[in-house]
């Protein structure tokens, strides 16, 4: 060529070359960054979807990216986009909209509150409550064709996202602004929806129960609400599952508090009456026949095969007054038999001697008996009969000495 390049062109050429090198480096760096930005981790409590050109990518189960320790690689935006949905988390949502209006002071502990608050009327806009059905038997006073009560309640929903695809496609979630936590944005975005669904389920369910059921139910009504809620969640294909619905608190309106308190007292009184009666019954039966009383009674009434054996066993376990009766009877039996035997034995032994000398034996026994009797007598009086004084009257002052009486009583 041999063409001498002028110095200016040379400088330009050098600058161009330098610029090219710098540009190349920048491009390589950009490409590298572009590729690296495609790495995304799906954490253990998440599942993810990939949007390719805005459409969920993949078929069937491949559509969902399951959590794993190493990252996934997706084409960076705008080609692909990864959407992570927190499916593993159980989230609580408190619903207090059926509770009466409380000022800040009302929420303080009992001791800090000023006593004797005025009982305001129930304001339908400010105070929350549910309507429950009346009892079947009760009279209808208002003539409105229905009889109902008012009850306050607090609820807690625990929910979980189970279908990331349905959730992402159907449930409105606000766009995430810088500095916001993704999870919080999701829960805050869906809270109004869930709250409304729960409230509607509660209202629908509660009209089927009486106030007593609403106050005491810990299982039936929450389950009913949960069922209704799940139906609603499924109907809108929300991908959300209601893990549990709790009736946290429920109470009667404070306007009718005194009547309900009296009713509770009455219940306690009823329990007490019954307890007292049961104590009495137990005591009576124990005294009568001991701990086996009731079982023995059942056995006595039972006429099936084998009952007799059981009955015999129970008789042997007897205590109390019945046992005493039996014991006395046994003692009598023993005594009667023993006495009879003793008498018989005595006669048998006496007979040979008696047959030999009847007179003397009779007299001897007689004297022995008299001796015994007179020895035991407290007083002995011997009277001398006089000849030929028939019809004579003898008067004896019997001893009324109290010591004698006492002595004999002691014996």
């Amino acid at each position: 060529m041999g063409v001498e390049l002028d110095p200016g062109f040379k400088a330009l050429s050098r600058a161009m070359r330098l610029a090219f090198v710098v540009l190349t480096i920048i491009m390589v760096v950009l490409v590298v960054f572009f590729l690296i930005s495609g790495f995304e981790t799906v954490k253990s409590d998440e599942k993810a979807l990939v949007l390719r050109f805005g459409k969920i990518h993949g078929v069937g189960e491949d559509r969902i990216l399951e959590p794993r320790p190493w990252p996934y690689w997706v084409f960076p935006e705008p080609i692909e986009e990864i959407i992570k949905i927190p499916v593993g988390k159980k989230i609580d949502l408190d619903i207090d909209s059926f509770w009466y209006f409380q000022t800040k002071e009302d929420t303080l502990p009992e001791s800090l509150r000023s006593k004797s608050r005025p009982g305001p009327k129930l304001n339908p806009i400010r105070d929350g409550y549910c309507i429950t059905r009346g009892e079947k038997q009760s009279q209808d006073i208002t003539g409105s064709g229905s009889d109902y009560s008012i009850v306050h309640s607090k609820w807690r929903l625990t929910y979980q996202i189970y279908n990331p695809e349905s959730f992402f496609r159907n449930v409105y979630v606000e766009d995430i602004k810088p500095g916001q936590v993704y999870f919080n944005v999701i829960t805050e975005s869906i809270a109004p929806l869930l709250k409304s669904l729960v409230e509607s389920s509660v209202v629908t369910a509660m009209v089927n129960y009486t106030i007593d059921e609403a106050i005491s139910s810990k299982y039936t009504i929450p389950e009913h609400v949960k069922k209704l809620l799940q139906e609603k969640l499924d109907k809108i294909d929300s991908g959300i599952t209601a893990e549990s619905v709790q009736l946290v608190r429920s109470t009667w309106p404070r306007q009718v508090d005194s009547a309900f308190q009296r009713s509770i007292q009455a219940s306690n009184q009823k329990k007490q009456l019954i307890t007292e009666a049961e104590t009495y019954a137990e005591g009576t039966l124990n005294e009568a026949a001991g701990p086996v009383a009731k079982r023995l009674m059942t056995a006595l009434e039972d006429e099936t095969v084998g009952a007799e054996q059981r009955e015999e066993f129970l008789w042997s376990q007897l205590a109390g007054a019945a046992q005493q009766k039996i014991a006395q009877a046994r003692a009598y039996r023993t005594k009667v038999v023993e006495t009879a035997r003793a008498n018989a034995d005595y006669l048998q032994q006496l007979l040979p001697e008696y047959r030999k000398r009847p007179e003397i034996v009779i007299q001897e026994i007689y004297r022995g008996a008299m001796e015994y009797i007179l020895n035991n007598a407290d007083e002995k009086i011997i009277i001398q009969p006089t000849e030929g004084t028939k019809g004579r009257e003898i008067r004896i002052q019997l001893n009324r000495d109290p010591t004698i009486k006492q002595k004999s009583v002691k014996d």
């Binding site: 909209s97 009766k325 039996i326 009879a340 018989a344």
Partner: protein
């Protein structure tokens, strides 16, 4: 070499810019309207990647197609029997037909205001067809709460789908209340009912207590009677056993009776007795005189 690199670079830039101007994406959560010179020419409800002419010829308007919740205002509505109730209805809705939506409403704000008034209308209409007793009733089978909500949903769906391109997914009544005055009457009745119950509870308790006591007394009586019967049987067996020995007494009944009588005397006079005897009786005769005892011939007895 250099020129190839530069060519690739320029081509890349051109392609990227081209894609930027000549295409657009519709996400899974969106629907879109393709506008030509400000007029909608096509609605896109399926997600994906679409081509268009660059602005200002064609432009794309996007709509969020996910479900939104809308709470209507709390209103007092008369029922068929003229008893007013206070209800609050919510709807879950979404933009189903972006074209209609764009033409009729344009923005979500506008849609919500239209929906509110529509809900209010539907609510009044449907609730006016039902008695209050069909919302809540002591007879469960007369409660038509579900039916009322379903009817409201049906009416509302019909009203908004055609005109506004809005789909109502679901609807529900989330408040059911009565006016302040009515609630006072309800309280009065609740009190009366509770008082009646209170009395019932106490009398139930009393009745139960009486039953329990009565049962116990009855069992006691029966058990003691059973025990008496058993005791009598035992005694009877004793007497029967004793009778066996009486047979042995038959060897000399007179002697046996004599012995038996003596035993009886001993027992009868054992305590607290004062006995009066005649001095003629043995052995008291000795008190009167010395007996005449003859000497017996010792051979005689042999």
């Amino acid at each position: 070499m250099k020129s190839i690199a530069i060519t690739i670079f320029i081509l890349l830039v051109v392609v990227i810019l081209g894609l930027l101007f000549f295409s657009y994406q519709v996400r899974e959560t969106e629907s879109a309207l393709l506008m030509r010179f400000g007029k909608p020419i096509r609605q896109i409800t399926a997600p994906g990647w679409y081509f268009k002419w660059p602005e200002p010829i064609e432009d794309v308007e996007k709509f969020d197609s996910r479900m939104r919740i809308l709470e209507a205002d709390v209103t007092e509505t008369p029922t068929k029997g003229a008893t007013p109730i206070i209800v609050n209805t919510y709807v879950v809705w979404k933009i189903a037909e972006p074209l209609q939506f764009f033409n009729a409403l344009g923005t979500v704000m506008e849609a919500e205001s239209k929906l509110r008034s529509q809900i209010s209308n539907t609510q009044n209409e449907v609730i006016g067809r039902y008695e209050f007793s069909e919302f809540v009733n002591s007879n469960k089978s007369k409660i038509k709460f579900d039916q009322i909500q379903a009817e409201m949903l049906g009416d509302l769906q019909q009203a908004v789908r055609e005109d506004y391109g809005i789909e109502i997914k679901t609807l529900g009544i989330k408040r059911l209340k009565v006016s302040e005055d009515v609630s006072e009457a309800v309280f009065k009745r609740m009190r009366a009912e509770r008082n009646r119950k209170t009395e019932g509870i106490i009398s139930e308790g009393k009745a139960a207590a009486i039953t329990i006591r009565g049962d116990a007394d009855s069992i006691e009586t029966q058990l003691l009677a059973a025990a008496d019967a058993r005791a009598a049987a035992i005694k009877g067996r004793g007497d029967a056993e004793a009778a066996k020995y009486y047979k042995m007494l038959e060897a000399d009944p007179e002697l046996a009776m004599y012995l038996r009588d003596l035993e009886a005397l001993k027992k009868i006079l054992a305590k607290r007795s004062t006995i009066v005897f005649s001095a003629d009786m043995e052995p008291f005769r000795l008190l009167k005189e010395i007996p005449h005892i003859k000497l017996k011939d010792p051979n005689e007895s042999k």
